[in-house]
């Protein structure tokens, strides 16, 4: 009869701490513990822990010929052992806590889970998107457990699947009107950026300390800059004091549009739908398209030459 003997291949335990001469904790790591990013194959962690020959409580196997190495996890023999372990442990947690009360659908805290490519980097295995989706499904169900009764171990287990920065946790600082009655808005367009201060007034406009007709020679640009006020019929209700830099005249004028609209929304938040209809709320993300090799500009092809 073959004796099962937990034994690891010395070659596979290559990670050894040079100071303390002890083996890393990675060998006993499982999916419930967060681990650092690694591109190395994670199968070595699944492999069996090192045999401690110095300890005396372990009796040597009676039958040395039949002794063999047994991996720590049965997933060692699967194609994606870390993934399999993770999925199984999550399913085990779900089985364990499935009777806990849940929140109403849609009321669960918003969580940004790691994408499949981020997960692949984490485990170092070529996990398919559809397989990772199984994990996500379980995580979504676990996330529905009411936060008041969320067990700490479950919370810790879910933590490693969350993105490092939760975009939903970022709360925008609310814009305020300062003690002098000014509201500030920042607008950008192309490569220009504008900082616009709006105060209640009679329609005076100063851009970079100059009158608007000195900054923008084109009447069209001046009208663009003041378009949010015009569209909401507020030109004679506010004074504009703006700083604008970068880019060209059109970009600067349209950066002012966005900045003015944002500052106006601080004074009067109810104007947001009107401003959106006027096209002043969304930042235009277009930039100059990069030049490509083989082309004269971004898309322009050289003239056709016969031979």
């Amino acid at each position: 009869m073959a004796t099962k003997f937990t034994f690891s291949l010395p070659l596979r335990i290559s990670y050894q701490c040079p100071q303390c001469r002890t083996h890393s904790a990675r060998s006993i790591r499982n999916a419930s513990m967060p681990r650092p990013f690694s591109t190395a194959s994670s199968t070595r962690a699944i492999a069996a822990p090192a045999i401690d020959f110095s300890s005396t409580d372990k009796v040597p196997p009676p039958n040395m010929q039949n002794a063999r190495v047994v991996p720590a996890s049965p997933s060692y023999f699967s194609g994606r052992p870390d993934f399999t372990d993770n999925l199984l442990s999550l399913q085990a947690l779900l089985r364990k806590y499935q009777t806990l009360p849940t929140v109403a659908p849609g009321q669960a805290p918003r969580v940004a889970w790691r994408t499949v490519s981020q997960y692949r980097l984490l485990v170092g295995e070529p996990v398919r998107a559809s397989k990772y989706h199984q994990i996500i499904e379980v995580l979504k169900r676990l996330n529905q457990i009411h936060p008041a009764v969320m067990p700490p171990d479950l919370h810790a287990a879910m933590q490693i699947y969350k993105r490092d920065l939760n975009p939903y946790a970022v709360v925008k600082r609310p814009a305020i009107i300062d003690a002098d009655g000014r509201a500030c808005g920042i607008g950008r367009r192309k490569s220009s950026s504008a900082k616009v201060y709006l105060v209640p007034g009679e329609g005076e406009v100063l851009v970079n300390g100059k009158s608007i007709n000195h900054v923008f020679g084109r009447v069209h640009d001046r009208e663009s800059a003041l378009w949010p006020l015009k569209a909401t019929n507020r030109v004679d209700k506010y004074n504009v004091w703006a700083l604008v830099s970068g880019g060209g005249t059109t970009g600067q004028a349209e950066a002012l549009t966005l900045g003015t609209a944002k500052a106006l929304m601080v004074h009067e938040p109810d104007l947001k739908p009107a401003l959106r209809r006027a096209g002043c709320v969304t930042r235009d993300p277009r930039r100059v398209e990069r030049k490509k090799p083989g082309k004269l500009k971004a898309r322009k092809m050289p003239a056709w030459v016969k031979r």
Binding site: E204, S211, I212, N213, R222, E223, N233, D236
Partner: protein, 483 residues
């Protein structure tokens, strides 16, 4: 008959005057003098190319570029514009447009209402005779949009009404009001400086003043009219053609010169015999008839106009920077550029502006600066800034007074003319108020140039877009840029 001198001697007589009195020169002696022509030689037509005779044919097998003379090229034989035709078209002034709507209830500008506070913010029509007079002094500019309206009208802004009050006050009979007001109009581009000059001249005409206007200082200094030196030291130059034109327009501009009698001067050094008891208008036309006598007649006329009992005088000049720049388009015989102050007409004007000469019957000397067509004259900028002091803009910004830059060379003649203490006022023309802008826009709407209703919101928007009611920009935004 053979000539009494040989050919060799003849050629020397052409270049130098004969020394010995034995031979009397029969041939007129042509001394070489500097030609007063500024036309550079490269403007001469190129000499015709000689045909080389040998025609180089391209080698066999090589392709040469052949441009076929098409139908279009052959037929493009339109008449080329005559000399001066294009300029006349460019300088053409159209003062009315029959397609524009007639504005109902539009008042004329009159002696009664020109200083009335109630017409502030209204557009008043320029009466027909005044329009002719203004045309004669070339007060209208081709860039102004007179041609968009049925009849020429002008906005009575606050500064205009103040000017009307001043002119009305100075036209009074009291002796104390017979003073000389010297004024320089400044303001940003399109703020209405030339228009202010026009309005002041209109009101001077209404009050029966004599108006002498130098409509564009650039025309005097860029070297486009003939000039000749005066026997004076330092050398001074007159521009006979320009003076002739000025004298020709004077009687048209000032019809009251017909009724003013020429008092025979005591000095008898007149260039031509002048008949007694002629009117000043006749005297001016006499001067306009011959460029040779234009300068003495001009002097005579000015003396007459400034003699006691004559009406007040308005002296206008537009484009001051051109008249104060460092050098003109003219050159002296030593090939150095002539300074504007050496041109008689400008020197004459600046004497009045600086207060070296008075207008004994009272009057206004008004010069307008220009922002769109002006050379950089640091001396003028500094002098005006010193006269004006620090300026507080409507937006609350303080523009400090300029200081003398130690590394800059200033023209002391300009600095002296505009020295503080000479009593020269600097009148800054700010943007229109919203009420004035509204009055103007309502006039435009009545003339059919604005389609939408002139509401509070529209006025506010266009006022803001025009940089706070800068009237030229307002016009651009409202009636020029129509989408």
């Amino acid at each position: 008959m053979p000539s009494s001198i040989c050919w060799k001697c003849l050629s020397t007589t052409l270049t130098q005057p004969l020394r010995h009195g034995s031979i009397k020169p029969r041939i007129p002696i042509y001394l070489p003098t500097l030609a007063f022509s500024t036309t550079p030689s490269f403007q001469l037509p190129l000499p015709a190319k000689k045909s080389s005779g040998v025609k180089v044919t391209p080698k066999k097998g090589t392709k040469s570029l052949v441009i076929k003379k098409g139908k279009f090229q052959a037929e493009n034989r339109a008449r080329r514009p005559a000399p001066g035709e294009r300029k006349a078209l460019r300088k053409r002034i159209v003062l009315s447009n029959v397609n524009a709507l007639e504005v109902q209830g539009m008042q004329n500008i009159e002696v009664e209402n020109m200083s009335d506070q109630r017409v502030e913010g209204q557009v008043l029509r320029l009466p027909g005779p005044i329009v002719d007079q203004l045309r004669a002094v070339e007060a209208f500019k081709p860039t102004q949009s007179w041609g968009l309206f049925q009849s020429p009208g002008t906005l009575m802004r606050r500064e205009t009404v103040d000017m009307g009050k001043l002119i009305a006050d100075m036209s009074g009979e009291e002796g104390g009001s017979r003073r000389t007001v010297k004024m320089v109009l400044v303001g940003e581009k399109g703020s209405g400086k030339s228009m202010m000059l026009l309005q002041a001249m209109t009101m001077a005409f209404l009050k029966g003043w004599t108006v002498i206007n130098l409509p564009e200082a650039q025309d005097i200094t860029i070297g486009h009219t003939s000039y000749q030196p005066l026997p004076s030291s330092p050398p001074s130059y007159i521009q006979p053609a320009y003076l002739t034109n000025l004298l020709r327009n004077l009687p048209t501009a000032n019809p009251h010169l017909e009724s003013l009698q020429f008092s025979q001067p005591t000095s008898s050094d007149l260039p031509i015999p002048i008949p007694p008891n002629i009117s000043l208008a006749r005297l001016a036309s006499l001067g306009a008839s011959d460029p040779e006598i234009a300068y003495p007649i001009f002097n005579l006329l000015i003396t007459e106009l400034l003699s006691p009992g004559r009406p007040p005088v308005f002296l206008g000049l537009d484009g001051l920077a051109h008249a104060m720049q460092d050098g003109t388009g003219y050159t002296a015989p030593n090939l150095k550029p002539i300074h504007p102050y050496q041109l008689m007409i400008l020197e004459w004007y600046f004497k009045f502006l600086a207060g070296r000469r008075r207008l004994p019957n009272g009057g206004i000397v008004m010069a307008a600066t220009s922002q769109s067509n002006a050379p950089k004259v640091p001396s003028l900028d500094l002098a005006l800034s010193k006269l004006e002091g620090s300026v507080v803009t409507r937006a609350g910004q303080t523009v400090p007074q300029k200081e003398r830059n130690p590394f800059m060379r200033y023209d002391e003649r300009v600095m002296d003319t505009l020295k503080p203490g000479r009593g020269i006022q600097v009148q800054r023309l700010p943007g229109l108020s919203k009420e004035e802008a509204r009055g103007l826009m309502e006039y435009w709407a009545k003339s059919g140039m604005v389609r939408e209703r002139v509401s509070e919101g529209l006025v506010a928007e266009k006022w803001a877009v025009s940089g706070g009611g800068v009237v030229g920009e307002l016009e651009r935004a409202v009636i020029r840029m129509r989408v």
